[in-house]
């Protein structure tokens, strides 16, 4: 079951924060964060807006467990663009039966692999990923597009999202 504790833990991990970091940002003890994540206690209501903000969701999303809104695709102007070294390519797979897979690949690693001729569909057994043109995605990112670049929903309810941040 997806509880609020699990959601906090998942979102914290996605943001690559440690329990200590989150505790420090909210002015609580790391033990308190641990208890939230293990569903032993719930965060104080006054902390929810800050907690949601840090985790990049709304309070409603945090409490209800509705899927967090992913960033829309944005075109970053050339002078503000990050180098490929700093960008992360995130593959998010949510199966209809509740399984979740998150893969985080540095974009540069993907670029090197593509330049070497490694075709991504060959290393993926997921049907939803088979027809994705990885070089086009990479091209989009090089031109400054970041955010939710691909969203595929299969007939059996599995969703695959690819976003760059």
């Amino acid at each position: 079951m997806n509880t609020i504790g699990k959601r906090i833990a998942n979102l914290r991990k996605e943001k690559q924060l440690k329990q200590d970091d989150l505790a420090q940002m909210l002015g609580v003890s790391p033990q308190a964060v641990s208890k939230w994540e293990n569903d032993q206690t719930c965060p104080d209501i006054t902390l929810l807006p800050d907690l949601a903000k840090i985790l990049g969701v709304t309070v409603d999303e945090l409490l209800s467990g509705k899927q967090a809104v992913q960033p829309a695709v944005t075109l970053v102007p050339e002078e503000k663009r990050k180098s490929l070294d700093e960008l992360m390519f995130r593959i998010v797979v949510d199966s209809s039966d509740g399984d979740k897979v998150r893969v985080n690949l540095p974009l540069k690693l993907l670029q090197i692999a593509m330049e070497m001729g490694v075709e991504m569909p060959q290393v993926s057994s997921n049907d939803a990923l088979k027809n994705i043109n990885w070089s086009q995605i990479l091209q989009l990112v090089e031109q400054g597009a970041i955010g939710n670049l691909v969203e595929v929903e299969s007939s059996d309810g599995d969703t695959v999202r690819i976003f760059v941040e």
Binding site: G98, V101, V103, N104, P106, G117, Q122
Partner: protein, 81 residues
């Protein structure tokens, strides 16, 4: 590399494996060989270049979570490089 496996409600099993054990020339050769068997063309030099980049990246980004899998029954597997 840290691998954490947690079955639903059970105590997590944490495995700490030094990344240098496989992120080296020998590891790169093995990966290249295995991929070639699966029809993916990657020679030893290319595999080594990937491993070198991987090593450089993980030094820069200490908390890089490569894979995080959570099953519906609450079990989870996390691989942190």
């Amino acid at each position: 590399m840290k691998i954490v496996v947690q079955e639903n409600g059970e105590k997590p099993i944490k495995m700490l494996i030094p990344t240098w054990l496989f992120a080296n020339r020998v590891g790169a050769n093995l990966v290249a060989k295995k991929l070639q068997e699966q029809g993916i063309h990657l020679d030893k030099k290319q595999a080594l270049a990937l491993v070198k980049y991987l090593n450089a990246y993980r030094k820069k980004h200490k908390d890089w979570v490569l894979v995080d899998v959570q099953s519906a029954d609450g079990s989870c597997v996390t691989i942190k490089v």
